[in-house]
């Protein structure tokens, strides 16, 4: 004689707790932390980071690569110690990170506990690029010629639109008055340029696409862009903890020429080759690195890893949303005034674009737990995002119970909490479960955005695939995400049927 509703609900909660605990347990088992080489979300950075990881492994130290999105996230991760080393460019370091004109970057960086290598051998400068035929048609040969054509359509990455050494500074330096400026993904901007959907985009001079599409890099005739020498940034404590790793990393200094980098970028972007393989081949040819042939992760293996990472985002955030959302829904149903405020607040959360909420969580989590990148901010954002369906359905489920039933329970002499537990929650269980189900599906989909802040999961192959315009890689994230969402749907469907209601 037990009530099926609460049983189903509580066993569901228990299984959530279990699933949440598993990865945490297994995560504790590795005692020594591997050296983490960070990378930004574009091919060159990934290839360099891959080289870094291979060099560190050559020193006999465990290492892994971590893709973390843009400069601010990486700098944060480096100074926090989530990342030990990552490749960056002197211009970026001076203008965007340190915001300094000092020629002595090393001294400035030392103040942050960060060291800088010598140049890896090439520059990856910014330049504005156009199709040759379009540039010829407008008579544009240099950057300053753009001033006469404010009607041109510009497409830049969001980072470039923001950076002081990007569009804002460039616009001022050249007195440009263009109004048609859009933010877009770098790879998509190239495609837009080729398809004539836009006329001008920013290019990195080592981009493989420049040669591939025979594009024109406009000379920077006012010398606005600083020089962007590729360098390693690494934590000073890495040199103390793992001097041999740093030794090996620094062997790359001066070894990568601009042509070589262009060729490697093209190999990944155009020929769709694997970054790790490209990096390994270069190290073998250039440094005679007798590295083991890159162990190509099997697709199944990669999917297993991303699935694990994805669940690590979804399960704790959903669990927290259930634990907080149901009580909030109960309070909202009990007190109409509070209820209106609670419902308005969680609805408001839902109107914040998910990516914005995710990025907003970076400083919040930094302040709360001292870790601003990776899983914690993603879990926090997903938690907030999952609240609305749970709170609203709990509220609606409780208010949907006929008044006469609640009064019958009260008239029996049950105190309010017992009425809630034995009568109201079981009767609302179906509606509440439907809310949790909606939250779970939204959560699985939204968690793919975690790729933007290095939280891993299915978002990583999707974002990397977009960046490389590699459709199979995109699908490697998109299809499992869809399957996971459908699996969760089906599981909740079974759960709902396992909780039969006499009424």
């Amino acid at each position: 004689m037990r009530r099926p509703g609460p049983i189903a609900l509580s066993s569901f909660l228990a299984s959530l707790v279990l699933v949440a605990a598993l990865p945490a347990l297994s995560g504790c088992s590795s005692a020594t932390r591997p050296v983490v080489i960070g990378s930004k979300k574009f091919t060159e950075s990934v290839v360099l980071a891959e080289m870094g990881a291979r060099l560190v492994r050559q020193a006999g130290v465990e290492a892994r690569r971590d893709d973390l999105g843009g400069t601010p996230a990486l700098w944060l991760a480096l100074t926090q110690g989530d990342v030990d080393c990552y490749p960056d460019y002197t211009g970026t370091i001076a203008r965007q990170i340190l915001k300094t004109d000092s020629p002595n970057l090393a001294a400035e960086l030392a103040g942050h506990g960060i060291r800088i290598s010598r140049s890896l051998g090439f520059r990856d400068n910014y330049a504005l690029g156009m199709r040759r035929d379009v540039a010829a048609a407008y008579g544009v040969a240099r950057t300053s010629d753009l001033r006469d054509h404010p009607e041109l359509r510009y497409g830049f990455t969001h980072e470039f639109l923001d950076r002081p050494d990007g569009w804002p500074g460039l616009k001022r330096a050249y007195d440009l008055t263009a109004t048609n400026v859009q933010g877009m993904n770098h790879t998509l901007a190239y495609r837009g340029l080729v398809e004539k959907a836009i006329d001008v985009t920013e290019m990195y001079t080592t981009d493989g696409e420049i040669a591939q599409y025979d594009l024109l890099a406009l000379p920077d005739d006012k010398d606005f862009f600083p020089s962007y020498e590729a360098v390693w940034l690494y934590r000073a404590d890495l040199a103390e903890r793992r001097p041999e790793a740093v030794d090996w990393l620094l062997r790359l200094e001066g070894r990568v020429s601009e042509t070589q980098m262009q060729r490697m970028n093209a190999a990944v972007q155009v020929e769709k080759r694997d970054e790790a393989t490209v990096a390994a081949e270069f190290l073998q040819a250039e440094l005679g690195l007798d590295a083991p042939p890159p162990e190509e992760d099997s697709r199944a293996g990669r999917i297993l890893v991303t699935t694990g990472e994805h669940l690590l985002l979804v399960v704790p955030s959903l669990l927290a949303a259930v634990l907080v959302g149901i009580p909030l829904g109960i309070v909202a149903a009990r007190r109409p005034m509070t209820g209106r405020i609670v419902l308005a607040a969680v609805s408001l959360l839902q109107t914040i674009p998910s990516l914005a909420l995710l990025l907003f969580m970076i400083p919040v989590m930094m302040w709360l737990i001292g870790r601003g990148t990776g899983a914690p901010p993603a879990i926090a954002a997903l938690f907030l995002y999952s609240l609305l369906p749970i709170v609203r359905n709990t509220h609606a489920g409780l208010l949907g119970i006929p008044r006469s039933l609640v009064e019958s329970a009260e008239a029996l002499g049950l105190p309010p909490l017992a009425v809630l537990r034995w009568v109201e929650l079981p009767l609302a269980a179906g509606t509440i479960l439907a809310g949790v189900r909606t939250a779970a599906v939204i959560n699985v989909g939204t968690a793919t955005l975690g790729g933007f802040i290095g939280a891993g999961g299915y978002g990583r192959p999707i974002l990397r695939g977009i960046d490389k315009f590699d459709v199979p890689l995109m699908l490697e994230g998109a299809i499992p995400a869809a399957i996971l969402a459908m699996t969760i749907e089906a599981a909740f469907g079974l759960l709902a049927r396992a909780a039969p209601r006499g009424g």
Binding site: R3, E407, S408, A411, L412, G413, P415, G503
Partner: protein, 245 residues
């Protein structure tokens, strides 16, 4: 058993009941009757503390019914509403024994009590493990009654207990209910809008209109000494069993 003193109740500033005073004698059956919206259900809910009066006092067995004391009063009062008010997620047995389980009563004793009550209310034992939606209207009403009687209360409140039943089942249940009331000798307050039913059950009838008592007394009093023209109209509007002599 129940005593109302100068009780008033409004909903959203619209007066629903009172001011009125009323006493229901112990061990007798009092029937509240009146047209729809006359406040008879509101009065019943006041008695068991489901709602609180805006003014005046409600007493049960000499003790005021307040939010603090309502629970102990409820344990001594059974409450039955139309169609039984059963919890759809619990079986008939689950409904009947919910409060006993909450109170941690001995299971074997409770099971025996359920069997007794099933016999008293002529509820088929095999129906005890069915859910409310698998029972007939009459059976649901019997389960509602069993649930109200499980803890052997001193008083029984019934709000249109037979309102949802077809005439044949209704007549049959009226007979049984009357038999049960007589056998148990409890204080009963029953709400109905059917004068024939009221006359059948009542030791005492209370006729309400617009939240006030128009007349109270024995069933015969209403026919013989109507207090005002409304009582006459109300009595004459009802068809059915012959007026009692």
């Amino acid at each position: 058993m129940f005593l109302l003193r100068d009780v008033e109740k409004s909903f959203d500033a619209r007066p629903a009941l009172g001011p009125l005073s009323l006493e229901t004698p112990a061990g007798r059956t009092t029937v509240l009757i009146g047209p729809s919206g006359c406040g008879k259900s509101t009065l019943l809910r006041l008695l068991v503390g489901l709602i609180r009066p805006d003014a005046g006092a409600v007493l049960f067995d000499g003790e005021p019914v307040t939010p603090a004391s309502a629970r102990s009063a409820r344990l001594r009062v059974g409450y039955v509403i139309q169609d039984g008010g059963l919890f759809p997620h619990l079986t008939a047995r689950g409904n009947v024994t919910l409060m006993a389980r909450y109170l941690g009563r001995d299971r074997a004793l409770t099971a025996r009590r359920v069997d007794e009550l099933a016999e008293l209310t002529r509820f088929p034992p095999e129906g005890l493990d069915r859910y409310p939606n698998q029972l007939s209207g009459g059976q649901r009403q019997r389960v509602g009654l069993m649930r109200a009687l499980l803890l052997d209360p001193d008083a029984l409140l019934l709000d249109e207990p037979l309102g949802a039943l077809d005439p044949l089942v209704r007549a049959e249940l009226q007979d049984e209910l009357k038999g049960i009331f007589d056998a148990l000798g409890k204080t009963v307050v029953l709400v109905t809008h059917d004068l024939g039913e009221a006359a059948f059950f009542a030791d005492r009838i209370v006729l309400l209109r617009d939240g006030r008592i128009v007349q109270q007394g024995s069933p015969a009093d209403l026919w013989r000494h109507p207090a005002d023209p409304f009582v006459t109209r109300f009595v004459q509007a009802q068809r059915g069993p012959e007026p009692p002599s």
